[in-house]
Symmetry: C2
Subunit: 342 residues, 2 copies
């Protein structure tokens, strides 16, 4: 295709590999981890698509990643950023069907904060025309994770537990659970969050700092029998919740918001009560879930954005060329996502 | 049946419920937990079998149980003992086919250390005539656990890790693994155990007190890629082994020999590497595994005892009436199992 330039502007990572630290997603200055640069536009290989960026969203995982605290190693000099939407302008063998389509995408290792993005075809989801670029650029990481994890919960019963329930993802899971006729039990840090979460669809809301939380959860657990715990925090409170859950419970960790390391106080829970501890990672889900199952989940996500049941809260737009200087400041607004535009 | 008396001698538990402690399987005096008694012979209900005892074996789980440190609560006044063999003399509806058969059994809650034992039909395995009472009375807990767990390991690949590999169960798993063409990686506490375990079939043997153990295991793990860790210890060393295993590894805990509580140092292993932590309990396996799968495993176990590949090491026989006074002394011999006879 003749209109693809040979070089492009991109926001590049300055770190390499893992940092060996776990300080969480906060950043004081993006220049500690990122620098602007002009690099070659990548060429798609077999099964890959080249996307001209329309918009990229900023997720906590992006910040974990640039700091070297995510499950994949950084690549120095490669563009940062996981998620966005754009137009497929070129593709390798087996991915030709995507050319010309507007897609939501996850950049499998790195790359969304650039004028052009290379990723695998499995990581691209064609967008319905009635979905905005704002919704399209935050279409996968949170909504698909919410759908896939609530699917896991639904496979085990009616009630499930969600920690960090006031996060964007937590709220998606609570409202989705309610819509599906399930009973979400929400864990929050602050008492102010209780009523909004009940309004959103939580069957029960517990404040983790409440000294009677353990006793209250035990009562709720006996009554509602939650089998799945969708957990973004993964600390000792998580372990206490897990041990108070009924036989066969699954503790599904998808994040580590608290630096406290959990101690397994009761191995007998795993042995005699058939419980287990596992993780969830959307990238793995996208690479391994059969297309039919993915298709059902993706269609449901798009329907929810198209008809307005779900909406992406946007706190501001930031041009690619201002990311290094302006990202830390833009992230101070906590009422929605920062959107990056070319 | 006219030859069943109305009362019987039994070794009865004096504790009730759980002790709330975790002091391990050692006992100084059986009279701290047990007393002799004459109680009514139980009547089989639907799906139950009444067994006249031939022999009962003493397992570590029996000692955990009488001390109130097992996954089931004690019942004060009920007979102790999980495993044995005997003749089915009466049965309830649905279990009539067992009457007249010599069976190996697990007493589902308690009861093997008595002249007559009541249990569920699913917990009885008819014995081939060429299997001795000694082998028959130690036919289920260790051998079936070994078979079922090595089956789990085999479903995930060639190599697997076994802790406490010098235990009876550990040795069964190592030799079984070798016989099936797998590569058992054995963890032991003492250097003297290394050569005997290699002779038994371990592909690698690591001494857990070796300061270079972590580094050595990492090298072995990269080479052999073990996916399953069959763990009787469940301490911090277990966690270190688990985190050094490759993607998709399963930590299957079936015991807690060390009182140290493991800390989960890397939740990312669960999230990004698809690992999980779970338990194994034979009782659950027997209640839920389809009959055809159980039949295959049971037939293989009996064939191994009948042709001499497996043999129960017996350290001594103890009459039922001497259990309270003599069990602690009899357990001091560590070269085999104590067998209880009526």
């Amino acid at each position: 295709m003749t209109d693809i330039p040979s070089t492009m502007f991109a926001v590049l990572q300055t770190g390499d590999g893992y940092s060996g630290k776990a300080t969480g997603p906060a950043i004081a200055d993006a220049a500690d981890w990122l620098e602007p640069g002009e690099i070659a536009v990548p060429q798609p290989g077999p099964g890959e698509a080249l996307i001209r960026l329309r918009m990229a969203s900023v997720n906590p995982s992006d910040l974990h990643f640039i700091k070297g605290e995510y499950g994949q190693p950084r690549v120095k000099g490669a563009p940062a950023g996981f998620e966005g939407c754009g137009d497929v302008v070129a593709a390798g063998a087996g991915a030709e069907g995507l050319v010309g389509q507007r897609v939501a995408f996850v950049a499998a290792s790195s790359g969304a904060w650039a004028e052009y993005v290379l990723t695998k075809a499995q990581m691209c989801i064609p967008l319905r025309p009635d979905i905005s670029d704002e919704d399209g650029s935050a279409q996968i990481v949170n909504p698909l994770t919410a759908m896939a994890m609530v699917d896991i919960a639904r496979s085990e019963g009616e009630a499930f537990v969600v920690s960090a329930a006031t996060s964007q993802l937590g709220k998606l899971m609570v409202s989705l659970g309610r819509d599906l006729g399930l009973k979400p039990i929400a864990l929050v840090r602050r008492a102010e969050a209780v009523e909004p979460l009940k309004a959103l669809g939580a069957a029960e809301v517990l404040v983790t700092s409440d000294p009677e939380m353990g006793q209250k959860f035990a009562t709720i657990s006996r009554a509602l029998k939650p089998r799945v715990f969708l957990d973004a925090v993964s600390d000792q409170t998580s372990e206490r919740i897990f041990t108070a859950m009924p036989n066969g419970a699954r503790w599904v960790s998808y994040g580590k918001l608290d630096a406290e390391l959990p101690v397994l106080t009761q191995m007998g829970q795993l042995i005699f009560m058939g419980k287990r501890i596992e993780g969830f990672w959307l990238t793995q889900w996208m690479m391994t879930t059969p297309p039919a199952d993915q298709g059902r989940v993706v269609a449901e996500v798009q329907a929810r954005f198209a008809d307005g049941r779900w909406k992406t809260d946007v706190s501001g737009h930031l041009p690619l060329r201002d990311v290094v200087s302006g990202l830390a400041e833009a992230l101070k607004k906590t009422d929605g996502k920062v959107m990056i535009t070319p």
